[in-house]
Symmetry: C2
Subunit: 331 residues, 2 copies
């Protein structure tokens, strides 16, 4: 196992220690393993809380900051945070206007965020919840009833975060988050597996010339194995899966070409070039794009494409200033 | 070979195609394989040109933009750009105030940038050159007479770019670039090799429990092979090598913990935590830090640490606004 770690049992704590040292503007609570905006809670502002298993960095802690999340709860690698962590994050950011939970659709996350919302309710903190289920690959999966939440989570956190920053009330922030979920689809492809440090062996096996089409961000099986093709072929399979579920022709779209953690940026740009060509051919207009490793699966090689069909209002909120460790512009 | 590419012979062209599609504010010349700021040349502003072999993305093309480079020349993977490319980049950004070439110290780069500077001189474009040789690992190397240029190149491009943006003359911009080189040291460690697409096999072999201490960004040999240790041990070896060459105790420093391309961000933060601890113990003050995969070696796993001993003026220039695909703040 070739990893830059100290102790497989301490990777989350050690990464949070580094995050705290690198970003003094964030408050890292090592006991609860939550990351909170330095200025939280802000009176009258809806608080945004997300979280999930670790190993998907920069998601979610790297998106805590101005214009995006107020707090992130960090579970063990590929394991949901427990309700107490989520509750601590929720109460830390409640400024009296309520808190939105942004939850990727995995059984453990949905359960634990739900319990935390109930506990927060007992403390008179109003909580709304949006479940992200953007992955069109499979209907049910290893850890999921229904579709998985993957790369599109970034869109939800950015756009809902921008509306919350404007001072919108909880029901409006929740509504825009749900709108983004409804208009977003993702599909991922793995060229190599990743290894959970505490397990010490790859989550799955792939032959040298194989790829997993529709892979999940924990290495869960997708639709099928296939012989690894060119970037253009991989992107075509990816976008065809998305387009079949949500027709893209004639739309104005926001596109994320997301490296899964072990894929070099050069290859991500090659994939983005193929993505732009495919979308142009299908008469979809790319209004905004993002290329990088934002929603990862440890050192998995491969990429995921996420597409959101924009409205003028969603575009405005996407463009709004953001200042987090991993996403930053326009402030 | 598990790569997200179309054709091993076309990876640079295909990546530039994607870069152009993703960043319409840049001008990409596919024939010369150069990337130029959309607003270049700017009258009276010193132009900054860098470049080198591809495979180190986002270096250099990802650093073209406001407050940093004016153009980058992109060679084949791990191969210097040819003089004609560098000349095209130089003339494209010359606004009458001269052009600074920022050259990583590899024999081919130094030679080809030198020839391009001569050719530019024939066209009455004044060129100054700074050679970056920050890597303390080895004195001479596979492709180098003298020390290699690696992660610290980012510091040189950012700080000299900020001074050029302020309107400083060529000699001042060159002087600050040389000052950064003199005050910067780097050292890298590989946990796995990378594979040049056109070659199809890894640049070197490492056993599962081995690491290469002092590795170069093309997979060149470093100081020695050793049994892979913990992140804290790896960082201690790295910083000890730097500190032996340039004592850090009592300094105010800028630190880059740089993923080599295949190392997840979680591990980079673990390495940064160990870095911050080591520097605090040695009474060096971290004024600014950066964690991410900025100067890479395709999908190599491992990390490199670069340290610059700051002055108040260098800190001010580091903090100045920058807006490029890969580095962006404060504008």
């Amino acid at each position: 196992m070739r990893k830059l770690i100290n102790d497989p049992a301490e990777v989350v704590s050690d990464a949070l220690h580094g995050l705290a040292a690198a970003h003094p503007g964030l408050r890292v609570d090592p006991e609860n393993r939550i990351v909170v905006r330095g200025d939280a809670p802000r009176g009258g502002k809806v608080g945004l809380v997300s979280g999930g298993g670790s190993g998907h960095e920069p998601l979610h802690a790297g998106f805590v900051g101005y214009g995006m999340l107020d707090a992130a709860a960090c579970g063990e690698v590929f394991t949901s945070p427990v309700p107490d962590q989520i509750l601590a994050a929720t109460t830390a950011v409640d400024g009296g206007a309520g808190v939105l939970h942004i939850v990727k659709n995995y059984t453990g996350d949905v359960l634990n965020f739900g319990m935390a919302a109930e506990l927060a309710g007992d403390q008179d903190v109003e909580v709304a919840t949006v479940v992200v289920n953007d992955d069109v690959a499979v209907e049910d999966s290893t850890f999921t009833a229904g579709r998985r939440g993957t790369g599109g989570t970034l869109f939800v956190e950015k756009i809902a975060g921008a509306l919350a920053e404007e001072g919108a009330p909880l029901d409006a922030v929740a509504a825009v988050a749900r709108e983004v979920v409804e208009r977003t689809r993702s599909f991922g492809v793995a060229l190599s597996p990743s290894t959970v440090p505490a397990a010490g062996h790859p989550t799955f096996e792939l032959d040298e010339d194989e790829m997993e089409l529709g892979v999940g961000i924990h290495g869960e099986p997708g639709r099928r194995r296939a012989r690894a093709g060119t970037a253009a072929e991989i992107v075509a399979a990816t976008l065809t899966a998305i387009d079949t579920d949500m027709p893209l022709s004639g739309s104005e779209v926001l596109v994320l070409v997301n490296g899964m953690g072990g894929t070099p940026l050069m290859e991500q740009y090659i994939a983005y070039g193929a993505t732009a060509d495919w979308l142009a051919y299908r008469k979809a207009t790319v209004a905004r794009s993002l290329v990088g490793s934002y929603v990862t699966s440890l050192e998995m090689a491969g990429c995921m494409v996420s597409v959101c069909r924009l409205t003028p209002d969603l575009l405005r909120l996407w463009d709004a200033p953001v200042e987090t460790p991993a996403l930053r512009w326009g402030r």
